[in-house]
Assembly symmetry: C2
Homo-oligomer: 98 residues x 2
Amino acid sequence: MKNPIADLNKIFDSRIRLGVMSILVVNDEIGFNDLKQMLELTDGNLASHLNTLEQAEFIKVHKGFIGRKTSTTYAITALGKQAFKAHLDALEKMIKKL
Amino acid sequence: MKNPIADLNKIFDSRIRLGVMSILVVNDEIGFNDLKQMLELTDGNLASHLNTLEQAEFIKVHKGFIGRKTSTTYAITALGKQAFKAHLDALEKMIKKL
DNA sequence: AAAAGTGCTTTGTTTTTCAAAGTTAAATAA
DNA sequence: TTATTTAACTTTGAAAAACAAAGCACTTTT
């Protein structure tokens, strides 16, 4: 039998990063605070997970303004979409034996 | 919006424990070594994850014999089946927006 | 002017992961 | 019968990851 977990992406082992991605898949752009509230996280915790996803180029950051107030938003990249989908496929394959 | 990761079970954040469960769902009984080979793990690593799953009462251990040689097998419990299913449902709900 | 919000970074602790080595007991090979 | 091997661990210790809390620069609200 083939190793069933080999195709899972390590980056998505984390529930938080999984949550971020699942939100970004359906929201073109989302703000730091919205994510923070949705996922019920502290600033530091969220920021570091976002950082990990950004390093992997699975998300991109957009720093803009609402009026003259800064507003940071996050969006999924093409690579991110692809990697997330691949991960979900791997998960599905793993459990479709059910 | 409701926190999409709240219903994910922390125990299944680990790819390895996820892998063990997915194997146990389709195999009534499986040996330590088989798991080790399927998941490509060291003894210690596998043993500790199995321990975590056992603590949670998601799997049960059966120590028996093949002839007079010890043989340890693992099986999923009813609770484990339920928890795993709930986790997968939560995952599915999270991403079914796709 | 003071308080509060945004989006971080930094710091430090706790938790988790993992490999490697040691262990006990039995099986098999020499 | 002695030596080696295999099974299934446990223990040890190091590295990585998760996380909360505090600090910070800047801005808006009161």
